[in-house]
């Protein structure tokens, strides 16, 4: 175990996988000479050279598609989007090509590619730079979606994503990069896709969430604890594949659920999870499930308005109290 930042954990995962597999390369804007816009790829250019750590032009559609082609032809690209906000330009390549070529060719081609970068809001970056993009990717069959919220999860899941034979949208958090935590330094440390993690145990209410919202959930759980309420905090870690067993387990334990996510409510991840819980665990529910999301508006710039728009621990506490009829 070593204590390291989320950023360094990602860096370690990239470095280890590049040492293990010569077909892995990293391409994106500013990943080489600049060390990455968020310094995730620091030192990799020096270690692996410009053949494997590649600064791209600002052409999201172009280099995402180049990566898909390289993956079809046998390489294992890691394509960095400076943020997923910029990846809308590349959505055609991700959705129409990466996620469909295996099926359309009836298995003749695989597309083992990782698209990674931060998703969601940071601080006062306004509407075009502050949006949680998970559901654009979870919507499409053929795309796996991974949202690590801690340094250890970041490392173990990135290594699993790089080794996976399907396209993976690996969605980080801009405000998580400096977060410190214990991380196994074993280069075989892998967290398999599709395994959720109970970040906190409690028996009164379940807060189910993913990505950097686990920290908001834990904060809310701390506030609830002062009122004598113990919350389970379930971190999905990956949205596709989805650990439904873990969801059903926490629902059966607490009978009360709040889904917390950073993105918008309409057809959000929470909408899917709520639908599945009512289909598969209706008899376990003692209250309607509540969702806590971003306000249903483009993100504003002003600090006070931004804070009002984001999901907060107080809103989660309020939702928990509602499902507890308190």
């Amino acid at each position: 175990m070593a204590v390291m930042t989320y950023r360094d954990a990602l860096n370690a995962a990239l470095r280890e996988e590049m040492i293990l597999d010569p077909d892995v390369f990293l391409m994106g804007e500013e990943v080489a000479e600049y060390d990455g816009a968020y310094k995730v790829s620091k030192g990799l250019l020096d270690e692996f050279g410009e053949r494997r750590v590649v600064d791209s032009p600002i052409s999201e559609l172009g280099f995402a598609g180049l990566g898909v082609g390289a993956a079809m032809a046998g390489l294992r690209p890691v394509i960095e989007f400076m943020t997923f906000n910029f990846a809308f330009l590349a959505l055609d390549q991700v959705i129409n090509n990466a996620t469909k070529l295996h099926y359309m060719s009836d298995g003749q081609f695989k597309v083992p590619i990782v698209f990674r970068g931060p998703t969601g809001a940071a601080l006062q970056l306004s509407a075009q730079h502050s949006q949680a993009c998970e559901t654009y990717y979870t919507h499409a069959p053929g795309c796996k979606v991974v949202t690590p919220g801690t340094p250890a999860d970041a490392k173990g899941l990135l290594k699993a994503a790089i080794r996976d034979d399907d396209p993976v949208a690996f969605m980080e958090g801009e405000t998580l990069y400096s977060l410190k935590g214990e991380v196994p330094d074993d280069d075989d440390f892998i967290i398999p896709l599709g395994v959720a993690d109970l970040k906190r145990e409690g028996s009164d209410v379940s807060i189910i969430t993913h990505g950097k919202m686990i920290h908001v959930a834990l904060q809310a759980a701390g506030k609830l604890e002062k009122d004598g309420i113990e919350a389970d905090v379930l971190d999905l870690r990956t949205i596709r594949p989805l650990d439904m067993d873990a969801i059903l387990e926490t629902v059966a334990k607490t009978n009360r659920v709040v889904y917390l996510e950073e993105g918008w409510p309409f057809a959000g991840t929470g909408a899917q999870i709520v639908s599945m819980i009512q289909e598969e665990a209706f008899d376990h529910l003692d209250a309607p499930i509540r969702r806590v999301t971003q306000a249903d508006i483009p993100m504003p710039y002003a600090k006070n308005l931004e804070n009002l728009a984001k999901p907060s621990a107080n809103r989660v506490v309020e939702a928990c109290n509602q499902v507890l009829y308190r």
């Binding site: 032009p57 993956a71 079809m72 009836d106």
Partner: protein
């Protein structure tokens, strides 16, 4: 094809005219183009009687583009194309039976019945697919070029697109990257003058030959209805690229003798019957080559008719094969959505049984 009277022919030579193309290759190109023509006519027939569904884009009139370029390649070279790609798949080595069965949506189709007319794939011969989004195949081709360079191989990528694709960002982003990284890709526009029903000069103020220059990619124009000229050009370009020249852009001038797709009449709102007839009479790639081969004294009407009968037979056999092939088994519905089914977690959310 119109019949022509036999004239006195000069003696046989090994090489055809100024092109440096061997007689054997000239005859092979004729065989290929006849096959493509007869195959597409068979597909047209299959569509008319309801055997083929969806969108179906024929290559009739553009056979020289497929034959003249792809016959200059090795099997380990890559070809990728748009949705007008039946003949290019055949040229690269996908069996006509597998292509026709795919059009019929059958189990023995090149893509197992999952792709249809627009999505023929042949991984074993590096035919990387027909693609349905205009221009979206161009970055993929650039990625094959990247892989070739990354691994230090000497294969070459040929990327076909229609003329409308050059107005897509994907085209410009790709050419820029190919030039920056010296990738071994030949980008080929089959310039048939219309993007669906919109004439190229109505949506571009600059000519096709000018499209690659700003990116630093050398552009070359060729008469795509002259398959010998096309073949000779590709021989040279492929050799250059294989030797490390970096990318090329080819403006291959051609013409489509049928509608954009099977639902579009041959002529009508956007082009006149006279225009189409003029091209069919003057610029049919099969007639153009026939005259060359007749003039060189290496082909006569009788042999041509034999070759044509062989082509018709292969097309008919492909249709018979497709007809006899079963529809895909229902258990294929969920197959190959995922290359790796993870042991943990759910990947499908429709709540249906997949037994």
């Amino acid at each position: 094809m119109a019949e022509t009277k036999a004239k006195k022919r000069p003696p046989k030579k090994d090489v055809l005219g100024d092109y440096g193309v061997s007689v054997d290759m000239g005859l092979e190109l004729m065989r290929q183009m006849l096959l493509y023509r007869r195959f597409e006519e068979k597909a047209e027939e299959g569509y008319a009687i309801g055997k083929i569904g969806g969108f179906c884009h024929l290559h009739i009139g553009q056979e020289g583009a497929a034959a003249g370029s792809i016959k200059a390649l090795r099997v380990d070279d890559y070809v990728i194309s748009s949705y007008r790609s039946h003949t290019q798949a055949i040229a690269k080595g996908v069996q006509p039976t597998a292509v026709m069965a795919e059009l019929y949506g059958r189990a023995d189709g090149a893509s197992g019945g999952k792709g249809g007319s627009m999505h023929i794939f042949g991984a074993d011969v590096n035919f990387m697919g027909g693609h349905g989004i205009v221009g979206a195949q161009v970055p993929l081709a650039t990625g094959y070029g990247w892989k070739i360079k990354y691994r230090g191989e000497d294969s070459v990528v040929v990327c076909f697109m229609g003329d409308a694709a050059v107005n897509q960002g994907a085209f410009h982003e790709s050419l820029n990257m190919a030039a920056v990284w010296d990738l071994p890709v030949i980008y080929v526009v089959e310039h048939n003058e219309y993007g669906m029903g919109t004439a190229f000069n109505r949506v571009s103020t600059t000519g096709m030959e000018e499209k690659s220059g700003p990116h630093g990619v050398t552009g070359v124009s060729v008469d795509g209805q002259d398959v010998l000229a096309t073949f000779a050009l590709f021989k040279k370009l492929v050799a250059d690229v294989r030797a490390g020249s970096g990318s090329y852009f080819v403006n291959l001038e051609t013409y489509r003798f049928r509608g954009h797709s099977m639902s579009d009449p041959v002529s009508g709102t956007y082009r006149s019957t006279e225009e189409v007839e003029h091209h069919k009479k003057e610029k049919d790639p099969i007639s153009v080559l026939r005259e060359r081969l007749f003039d060189a004294g290496v082909l006569d009407q009788e042999r041509l008719e034999e070759m044509d009968a062989e082509a018709r037979q292969i097309a008919a056999d492909a249709a018979d094969f497709a007809e006899a092939s079963p529809v895909p088994d229902p258990d294929r519905l969920y197959a190959n959505v995922w290359a790796e089914v993870n042991p943990n977690g759910r990947l499908f959310f429709d709540g249906r049984s997949r037994d």
